[in-house]
């Protein structure tokens, strides 16, 4: 128990002193995750909105598939990206394996289905409310989609935060495609796994505390954002 207590003290010291190794890992984690989130948002938000407002043969199957892909096992994603990027793979010439870019690709693949599925749900609910008004006003489809995305922005930020939470806490895929190389691809989750296995609990705990704080911050932010979202729903006065 004394060792654990000491580890907590050391972890607190690392955080308070802004230990350079710790800061480097945290910053790389944020860089990778935010890049993946941006790529995912650019793909997932419009696709989710399209899936919500358009009707075509096979749409239902696509919705089911997207929902199913929300539960993609990270290690499987890591394995597939590894195979694509390894020297023998179709994208091997790009030499991206064991780089932060490979980790961004893996996280993007992992969270894009989440963003598509949740965006579809948000936009679908809003579209049910707006559809007849838009039809009456003769709103063109691209304008309608843009309006739905804008009016659903508070809920969509929550969707983005869900994607961020999933990506930043992910370990399996980034470990496989990033390799956990010090100063190159070592992020919070892979560093925690490594330092724990090496018995250096102080750094692992410091990173764990930061990860936990991030998770709490994301949740708090979600609640804060949802407050105006509720306000912008129907709160018509008498």
């Amino acid at each position: 128990m004394q060792d654990f207590a000491q580890s907590f003290l050391l972890a607190g010291g690392l955080i308070l002193e802004a230990d350079p190794a710790l800061v480097e890992i945290v910053l790389l984690s944020l860089q990778v995750t935010l890049s993946a989130l941006l790529a995912s948002a650019l793909i997932g938000l419009p696709l989710g909105a399209l899936l919500a407002v358009t009707r075509f043969p096979g749409r239902r199957a696509l919705v089911v598939l997207t929902n199913a892909l929300m539960g993609l096992p990270p290690v499987v994603v890591g394995l597939l990206v590894y195979m694509m990027l390894s020297n023998a793979g179709p994208l091997g010439v790009l030499r991206l394996l064991y780089t932060p870019t490979a980790m961004v690709i893996a996280q993007t693949i992992l969270i894009t289905p989440i963003l598509i599925a949740l965006t579809r749900q948000v936009i679908n609910d809003l579209d049910q409310e707006y559809a007849e008004t838009f039809r009456s006003l003769g709103v063109p489809a691209p304008t309608a989609i843009a309006a739905l995305l804008w009016d659903g922005r508070f809920s969509l930020v929550t969707v983005l935060l869900a994607g961020f939470g999933r990506a930043v806490a992910e370990v399996g895929a980034v470990m496989i495609v990033g390799g956990n190389i010090n100063h190159v691809t070592r992020v919070m989750t892979t560093a925690i796994a490594l330092e724990t296995s090496r018995g250096d609990l102080a750094l692992a705990l410091a990173l764990g505390l930061i990860l936990l704080t991030l998770a709490l911050a994301v949740n708090a932010l979600t609640s804060l954002i949802n407050a105006p979202a509720r306000m912008s729903g129907n709160v018509r006065r008498a």
Partner: protein, 260 residues
């Protein structure tokens, strides 16, 4: 409130802009609508002139709202034809017709943004695009200019109806379809809405008005379409309908009796 009843200057301007517009009369033949096995509109024939206010009256469940939505092209009838004469030819209620019309629902759906942004969104849908000054003037006409920056979803029922009406009138519709626009509103809001309806009518807009308020129908209507159990029982001038209804159902309705 007397100043509320004055016709706004912008409406006069609209009348002038509209002087060259082609008429848009309506012809309906054999309109029948069945929903989930229930006949809700039954073999409706109707011809409406291009101008004036037509009140669509009838007890709950008579099919008034569905008729209005069929005429606007939001509901496809099971049988029959709806033809709007527009720009030299007859149209089913297609996109071109909907663009020349405006519908105000009983519970209007407003976008989750400010009052002014709601108008800006609709303003961007047609050419010429009204300026912000035009939009503020439109808000002034329904006494909402002081709420321009407020979230439209936080307006009261009457304010939401007035905003919906301002939105509907923004592009000078040829036909204005109103589904109980002043249901559950206070007298002041009702008066504002009726003033806007009168102004639109004076500016040459054809108005189709569903209302349960008999006094309102007397005040506004030029002619009355009386529906009962999905059928048109009577279509006549407002004066004739209220003074000498020709059917037993219409007579009972005017008297305030419950129609079964």
């Amino acid at each position: 409130m007397s100043d509320v009843l004055e016709t706004p200057a912008s409406v006069t301007a609209r009348s002038l802009r509209r002087s060259g517009r082609s008429p848009m009369p309506l012809r309906v033949e054999g309109l029948t609508l069945t929903l989930e096995g229930t006949l809700v509109l039954n073999d409706i024939d109707l011809a409406l002139a291009d101008d004036g206010v037509t009140a669509i009256l009838g007890p709950n469940g008579a099919g008034k709202s569905l008729l209005l939505r069929c005429l606007h092209g939001l509901v496809t009838p099971t049988r029959g034809t709806i033809l709007w004469h527009h720009e030299g030819r007859d149209h089913a209620p297609d996109l071109a017709i909907r663009k020349a019309q405006a519908l105000v629902a009983q519970k209007p759906v407003l976008l989750r943004r400010s009052v002014l942004a709601n108008l800006k969104f609709v303003a961007g849908l047609r050419r010429p695009r009204p300026s912000t000054d035009d939009l503020m003037q439109a808000l002034r006409e329904v006494r909402l200019e002081h709420l321009a920056r407020q979230n439209a979803r936080t307006l009261s029922g009457g304010e939401q109806q007035r905003l919906a009406l301002a939105r509907a009138l923004l592009h000078d519709p040829r036909v204005l379809l109103l589904d109980e626009p002043s249901a559950n509103l206070d007298p002041a809001s009702t008066l504002l809405i009726e003033t806007a309806i009168r102004a639109a009518r004076a500016a040459g807009t054809k108005v189709l008005l569903i209302t349960h308020d008999m006094a309102q129908a007397r005040r506004l209507a030029d002619d009355v379409v009386f529906l009962h159990k999905g059928r048109i029982v009577e279509h006549t001038s407002a004066a004739a309908f209220f003074d000498r209804p020709s059917s037993a159902e219409a007579e009972a309705y005017v008297k305030g009796d419950i129609l079964l």
